[in-house]
């Protein structure tokens, strides 16, 4: 899924970088300071997902769970997945520096789009139906990611098109497995802690509630400060 440095055309790299910066900006705007701890912990969870290996046929693949990240985090999935990719690139050498923008767009953009599409459906459904939607979201985000990867390869040269097709077909088993695992995870979350997936409704309900204690708090601290 990671594209390495040196393969893509400069136009694709720059385009990816610009879209990634825009996405990061939007994602960070929707991330108030008191949501950062929760987002950071969830971002770490999705990083740990990439360390979990699941058997597929004779080999094993690592989880990606970007669809679930989109469902749980919404727009904040963009910076959260970017941080994961940055750490992987810098400390493991997976992916690269100049392709960081393209890789972020390829993985985070489908996550955000799928997450925003399916969030309401998952939040309103019973656990069993929510699991089906979650499974579709998990599989679809991988599918869209591979299509994005194929597009970024295809735009960089005619010679990459067969490789791009191969990337898509090689990922079909991964889509199915990600779908199954996302479905089971959504089912469990709906039973154990449905708030995790109802963040959009919770957002609206909580936003004034979050602000309300914050503003008197700052007022009192300002007051204390002025009092010395």
């Amino acid at each position: 899924m990671h594209i390495v440095d040196g393969a893509l055309a400069p136009e694709v790299l720059i385009g990816g970088g610009v879209i990634a910066v825009a996405g990061l900006g939007l994602g960070l705007r929707k991330l108030p300071i008191d949501k950062i701890p929760a987002t950071g912990v969830l971002s770490a969870t999705f990083f740990v997902a990439s360390l979990i290996h699941v058997p597929v046929g004779p080999t094993s693949v690592h989880l990606i769970m970007s669809g679930l990240a989109g469902l749980v985090l919404g727009w904040a999935a963009f910076p959260a997945l970017f941080v994961g990719l940055l750490l992987q690139a810098v400390f493991f050498g997976f992916g690269g520096l100049t392709v960081l923008g393209v890789n972020t767009v390829n993985i985070a953009m489908p996550a955000v789009l799928i997450g925003l599409t399916f969030r309401g459906l998952v939040a309103r459904s019973t656990p069993k139906v929510a699991a089906i939607w979650g499974g579709i979201a998990g599989a679809a985000s991988i599918a869209v990611t591979t299509i994005f990867v194929a597009i970024s390869l295809g735009l960089s040269g005619e010679g990459f098109i067969p490789a791009a097709k191969l990337v898509f077909f090689a990922h079909i088993p991964i889509m199915i497995i990600e779908g199954l695992i996302s479905a089971a995870a959504v089912f469990l979350i709906c039973k154990a802690k449905p708030e995790l997936l109802r963040t959009d409704t919770a957002d609206i309900a909580h936003e004034p509630a979050f602000d309300a204690p914050a503003s008197p708090q700052t007022a009192t601290t300002a007051h204390e400060a002025s009092n010395g």
Binding site: D5, V54, F92
Partner: protein, 265 residues
């Protein structure tokens, strides 16, 4: 690979704490981060295989100026090559051009082979140089460096939280996995396996959210006001300037020679 964020050394990479830093490690991290970025952009901009290979040799030479273990570093680089090998093998057969040899009825073109080699050399050069320049830099130090380089504070804080909790949650994952193992779970190619992994990851998310709530409560309890102090000792010395200027000169030399070489044909 999670050993980088292992719980024994929660925030250190292979940081050699206590011992004197290597030659590369003695420079200001800001210069090193910017240099790694510039090097990557330069390598990607090179058109000629010869110069890309030269850049790779520079990166390889830099390994000896760090305290990175050579074998482990090359192994990590080779792990990345596993990702691209399929694409590189296919490229000669899919790029139109002068046929060189044919295999199973498909013609391999010279242009395609050169392109594949160029990509491979570039990718390895960038990764090797990055591992060298950022060696000994812990994730936390990287966060501080990015903050000093004017990255958005929210992004840096998010990264610091992520780094902090990766090892914690990885341990949590191992605990859950151990509990499954004790109950006789073995990963196979069955529906049951995938469902169990789904429950495992779902539980991990639930637990991490509960942990996040506790963390936020603890932070509020200690008067968190939306700002983290960044405590570090970054010093921009004259030798950092020398390093930066030398590095930029090297990069310009590479790019200029690369372009001149085209004209010299």
């Amino acid at each position: 690979m999670s050993h980088l964020f292992g719980h024994d050394q929660p925030l250190g990479a292979q940081a050699s704490s206590g011992t004197a830093p290597s030659f590369v490690g003695s420079f200001d991290p800001r210069v090193r981060v910017v240099a790694a970025g510039l090097f990557a952009i330069m390598v990607v901009a090179l058109h000629q295989v010869e110069f890309a290979f030269g850049a790779f040799l520079v990166a390889f030479g830099t390994v000896f100026l760090t305290d990175l273990p050579l074998r482990l570093t090359l192994k990590r680089m080779a792990a990345m090559d596993g990702f691209i090998i399929v694409m590189l093998v296919m490229l000669p057969f899919t790029t139109p051009g002068t046929p060189m040899f044919s295999l199973f009825g498909a013609d391999a073109s010279k242009e395609g082979l050169m392109h594949a080699v160029l990509i491979g050399v570039r990718a390895n050069a960038v990764v090797l140089m990055m591992l060298c320049l950022l060696s000994g830099l812990s994730p936390v130090a990287l966060g501080h460096t990015l903050y000093r380089l004017k990255c958005p504070a929210a992004l840096v804080h998010l990264m610091m939280f992520t780094v902090r909790y990766i090892s914690v949650l990885h341990d949590e994952y191992h605990r859950l996995r151990m509990a499954m193992k004790l109950r006789g779970f073995r990963a196979r190619n069955t529906f049951h396996t995938y469902r169990s992994f789904g429950y495992l990851f779902g539980m991990l998310l639930v637990r991490s959210l509960e942990r996040a709530e506790r963390v936020l409560d603890a932070m509020k309890c200690r008067g968190f006001s939306g700002h983290f102090p960044m405590i570090d000792h970054l010093e921009f010395k004259s030798r950092d300037v020398l390093f930066g200027v030398g590095f930029v000169a090297l990069i310009f030399a590479f790019v200029l020679l690369d372009r001149m070489y085209v004209f010299a044909y």
